[in-house]
């Protein structure tokens, strides 16, 4: 065995171990008690893989590798230290970085001509840069919208889907032509260019409420582009990591689309329908009952079972720490308090759980929608904080409602429903919520943080 072959063999073995560690890493994420082992496994796998790669016989110069690793770590640390409310945009940004890496390497491989001989190589290379290019700009757009640098509302124009379809068709068509006629090198920058523009156009029509699905979908695209890069470079570890990431993003986008009652094809093609604002603003004079913090505190302390339903509005109002104080005060009085988490609460899958965990609320008190829905009829008080559409009973009963069919938290079945809300203005999607007019509903008008604070003062101060 020559020395080169031996080092190649060693690297492949290291990659094999790293692949196993990556799979274990994800497996251990299944429960909070083992999840931190998962990180350790992932980190060891990553260090092994990078270390092994540095042994590669073809590497003649380490200077720029070192520069890249040091600079990247320098950028990575602040990106790892962002606030928990900013995690969605950080995640979108890291999808963009991953896709950028894949697209740049793909571009360099093309001009080095390593793939020009094989049709298969050229096909996967095209796939790599198309997916990479659109994920790069698409994720930047998503991050911009989440960070509110870009307008959150959907930007639509006539024939939008048609334009997008033609553009994407041009990219794929050029790629096919390039595979069949490898001498047509001028097509390559066109393919990359179209993909990059396509990524922007794909995200423009998507509004803030659809972000959990979009982030998951971009996650999937980023994984698939990395897997395509694995095919180009004949790197099995990359294929496996890309496939894991791709399937993870795919599963999450399916869960998110189900939770928002969007069809499966909608997810696959990224054509997220916009919520049509229902023009039925007729019944405005319907009476609602409201209550003061004192009354709310009295009802809560008389209850046995309380379910708190947090929405993104709670996080916007920075009320999660006050909610935690409310949880403590009620628990101390012997009230059983749990939290009902809708899958799309927050701006990305699982975001609400992280926000509540950050406020030190124990994770075994955070209950998923399917598990807690059966308990609402035995619940004394359901307290809705900053959530709207996910509690709208019209989704169950009113066929004309734009959200009809969306799975919701059945808070209306609780004995008493209390809703903290600034005013009676319809929420984000502009849909009226019949929950507010029910006989067993009390509206608590005010800022979530201040109102919860006032209830807590009443509970702890007034004995």
């Amino acid at each position: 065995m020559t020395e080169i072959a031996a080092s190649q063999y060693a690297i492949e073995l290291i990659y094999l171990i790293a692949s196993a560690l990556f799979i274990l890493s994800l497996k251990w994420m299944s429960s909070p008690s083992t999840a931190r082992h998962g990180i350790l496994a992932g980190e060891i796998g990553m260090v092994l893989a990078i270390g092994g790669t540095l042994l590669h016989h073809g590497i003649v110069d380490y200077k720029w590798i070192a520069v890249g690793l040091v600079l990247g770590s320098g950028i990575g640390v602040p990106l790892g230290m962002v606030q928990m409310t900013a995690v969605p945009q950080r995640t979108a940004l890291s999808h963009a970085f991953g896709a950028l890496c894949v697209t740049l390497v793909g571009t360099a491989e093309f001009y080095l001509g390593t793939q020009s001989g094989s049709k298969f190589g050229m096909s996967v290379l095209s796939m790599e840069v198309i997916l990479g290019g659109l994920t790069f700009t698409g994720s930047l757009m998503a991050a911009g919208k989440l960070q509110e640098i870009l307008p959150q509302r959907p930007i639509t124009y006539k024939g939008q889907n048609f334009v997008n379809f033609i553009l994407f068709g041009c990219a794929v068509g050029s790629a096919v032509y390039l595979v069949l006629h490898p001498e047509a090198k001028f097509l390559f920058p066109i393919i990359v260019g179209i993909s990059v523009i396509f990524g922007v156009l794909l995200i423009i029509p998507i509004g803030g409420a659809d972000m959990p699905t979009v982030i998951s979908l971009l996650n999937s695209y980023a994984g698939l582009s990395a897997a395509a890069m694995g095919f180009v470079l004949d790197n099995k570890l990359l294929i496996i990591a890309g496939a894991l990431d791709g399937s993870s993003g795919f599963i999450l986008s399916v869960i998110m689309s189900k939770a928002m009652n969007r069809s499966f094809t909608n997810v696959l093609f990224g054509a997220f329908g916009q919520v049509q604002p229902s023009a039925a603003a007729g019944a405005e004079a319907k009476p609602v009952k409201s209550a003061t913090p004192e009354e709310a505190a009295a009802i809560l302390s008389a209850a046995n079972k309380v379910v708190i339903v947090p929405g993104y509005g709670m996080a916007v109002a920075q009320a999660q720490h006050k909610v935690r104080e409310l949880y403590d005060a009620l628990t101390k009085k012997g009230v059983d308090v749990r939290f009902a988490i809708h899958p799309v609460a927050g701006r990305m899958p699982g975001h609400m759980n992280v926000l509540l965990a950050e406020a030190d609320i124990p994770y075994d008190r955070l209950i998923e929608m399917d598990e807690i829905n059966g308990d609402f009829p035995q619940t004394d008080v359901a307290l809705v904080i900053g959530a709207n559409d996910v509690t709208n009973p019209a989704a169950r009963t009113d066929q004309s409602s734009p959200i009809f069919g969306m799975p919701i938290l059945d808070v209306d079945k609780a004995h008493t429903v209390m809703v903290i809300k600034r005013s009676m203005n319809p929420g984000f999607a502009g849909i009226d919520n019949p929950l507010y007019y029910l006989d067993n509903t009390l509206m608590l008008f005010g800022d979530a943080k201040q109102f919860v604070g006032a209830i807590v003062r009443e509970l702890t101060g007034g004995h």
Partner: protein, 97 residues
């Protein structure tokens, strides 16, 4: 050469199935850290960039590759860091230590 490509496709197919099975069992509680973890793992693409830069086949490839290393490394470091920070926050109400 042809059969080698088929081997790679087999690996891809099997890895997708493993991915589906493993991810399906991840608690919805942990979907956000899951995404930041897969993101960090996905940045293994950095190995492709490392070889590209190290081989110094052209100035052009070195420049693109170095930017690629920076992008991917920031994902590795940032991804593991934030996943760890998030998981540290998840505490049970039943102290188990």
């Amino acid at each position: 050469m042809g059969s080698h490509l088929i081997d790679l496709l087999f690996i891809f197919m099997l890895a997708c199935f493993i991915g589906f099975e493993v991810i399906r069992h991840v608690s919805p509680l942990l979907h956000t850290p899951l995404m930041s973890l897969t993101n960090a793992l996905d940045a293994i693409a950095v190995v492709g960039a490392i070889v590209l830069v190290g081989e110094r086949k052209s100035e052009y490839a070195t420049i693109l590759g170095t930017i690629a290393i920076v992008a991917a490394t920031s994902n590795v470091v940032g991804g593991f860091l934030i996943t760890d920070r998030m998981l540290k926050m998840f505490k049970s109400s039943r102290p188990d230590k």
